[in-house]
């Protein structure tokens, strides 16, 4: 039984200004830090492509199933995001260790020749993000105090 109520002048003004606001909507990325290396580039894909991330795509278990190179890609290109954090956790579960002095990831390649409570010395694999590949480092001293 509530009949329509005529809009007052202030409501008309609000409608007009709301329409102006509607022309300049914020983008989701406006609420995120600048992504230097991998800014969002929404791209319309065929509707039969999955349009949503798979379920549980934001869990360590999901990231653990990714290949090492993929994890390093996520780690180095999605800096400062939850994806980088999850990739780091998954890499550690794949027995990589992040050395904060060199700010690089290392993985023991064989039983180190020297081990004491300060460091271990031996052959390691590290991920070279300049050449984008895993490389071996002989006789490397791995200092625990820099282990993250």
């Amino acid at each position: 039984p509530l009949g329509p109520v005529p809009l007052q002048d202030e409501h008309i003004y609000q409608l007009t200004m709301g329409k102006a606001g509607f022309r300049h909507l914020p983008y989701p990325s406006d609420s995120e830090r600048i992504r230097v290396h991998l800014p969002r580039k929404p791209c319309p894909t065929p509707s039969y492509y999955p349009q949503l991330p798979p379920m549980h795509a934001d869990t360590v278990e999901f990231f653990q199933r990714l290949s090492t190179e993929t994890l390093f890609f996520i780690f180095y290109y999605m800096e400062g995001t939850k994806a980088q954090y999850l990739a780091a956790k998954a890499l550690k579960k794949q027995s990589w260790r992040f050395h904060t002095k060199y700010m690089m990831w290392f993985q023991r390649h064989e039983e180190p020749k020297t081990i004491n409570e300060d460091y271990e010395q031996g052959t390691y694999i590290y991920f070279d993000y300049e050449k984008w590949g895993q490389r071996k480092k002989e006789g490397f001293t791995f200092e625990y105090r820099y282990l993250e």
């Binding site: 914020p26 969002r40 934001d58 999605m78 995001t81 994806a83 980088q84």
Partner: protein, 47 residues
């Protein structure tokens, strides 16, 4: 009759909280991990 609220892009049966991946009132997909700013150790900021 209103709107079918299951078509607004929110997984209403999710056991997890929705707000932590809520992207925007204008978008009907949740945030992806790479969309969420995270306080990672400063050494991770290798770039």
């Amino acid at each position: 009759p209103g709107i079918d609220l299951t078509t607004l892009g929110l997984n209403l049966n999710s056991p997890e909280n929705l707000y932590s991946t809520f992207q925007s009132p204008w978008v009907d997909i949740p945030c992806r991990p790479q969309d969420i700013d995270f306080h990672v150790p400063s050494e991770y900021l290798t770039n």
